[in-house]
């Protein structure tokens, strides 16, 4: 907690000192969602899960071309931020749309980018391997936990990353 919360200003009495209270605004009753509410909401998620591989594949194409620009060496160094942002979005979307393997692979991509001091050729190859993995997951519609194939994909990426860091450590 911030130290100067204890300043003499303290909690000033404010004209509207409670966060907006929604109860008098027509939000009746209390409690959890009804089965009907959840069924409607889950139907939405199911429908979007079916469409996910189509539009997510376009994001993978974009990720691939951004990486190619970074690999060319002509790209603005800040472009890696765009690459990261795209992968981070995929990380968030995968699980939400029924493809947790996409979340795992994109999460691994983001974690790897965060671990890098510089983007060298070895790093580009690992990032491209992630892109290939994402493409394979979407093309083959490996939804849910991905089963043994999903585990194998993630394991392969983990081992490649470990090898990369070992090589870097050896100099």
């Amino acid at each position: 907690m911030a130290k100067d919360d204890t300043t003499k200003q303290g909690t000033e009495p404010m004209r509207d000192a409670v966060m907006r209270d929604l109860r008098p605004m027509g939000v009746h009753s209390r409690g959890g969602p009804t089965p009907e509410m959840l069924a409607k909401a889950n139907a939405t998620i199911d429908k979007m899960t079916q469409d996910f591989p189509n539009w997510a594949s376009k994001d993978v194409d974009k990720l691939d071309s951004l990486l190619a620009e970074v690999a060319s060496g002509d790209a603005d160094p800040a472009m890696i931020k765009d690459v990261y942002k795209l992968a981070h979005d995929m990380r968030g979307q995968g699980g939400s749309f029924g493809y947790p393997v996409v979340t795992g692979v994109a999460g691994s991509f983001c974690k790897f980018v965060n671990s890098l001091d510089e983007i060298d050729q070895g790093a580009i190859e690992i990032l491209q391997a992630h892109v290939k993995a994402l493409r394979a997951v979407l093309q083959n519609k490996i939804a849910g936990d991905g089963g043994p194939i999903g585990a194998k994909i993630q394991d392969g990426l983990d081992r490649a990353i470990a090898r990369y860091h070992e090589k870097r450590a050896e100099g």
Partner: protein, 160 residues
Amino acid sequence: MALDFSRLNVMIVDDNPHMRILIRDILLGFGVKDVVECPDGSEAISELRHRPADIVIADWMMEPLDGLDFTRLIRTANDSPSRFVPIIMLTGHTERHRIVEARDAGVTEFLAKPVTANGLYARLRSVVENPRQFVQTQSFSGPDRRRRTEDVDGRDRRKD
């Protein structure tokens, strides 16, 4: 018995159209009838000037104004259009230091990705059933970060 959200208006701020559609449709499934979508924080602030929202659901990673800066502006700007609005932060960042950072920016609730219907309902429920005191100090402006009421052994700093 479930909450009746039919008279609430909710703003979704996310630069990803698919996530906006997902959240919008879940909200509609919950009975919310008035949902406004904005692709980034700056547009959301402009929109709030014309049309206040009862709850804002904002993604963390957006450009040019991300969810954290958006929250800070809402909570602290002199001309904030909606200082007290509850903000639910949608995030893939679940590391503790990130959560503390967002809480200190004035976020009301977190919704970690992946988004689920149960998870979203639980955050809406928390916002509705447990409205929190708004705290304004020199260093913080936002919902009271203390969620539990406990006896204070010693000096109550908030009364100093």
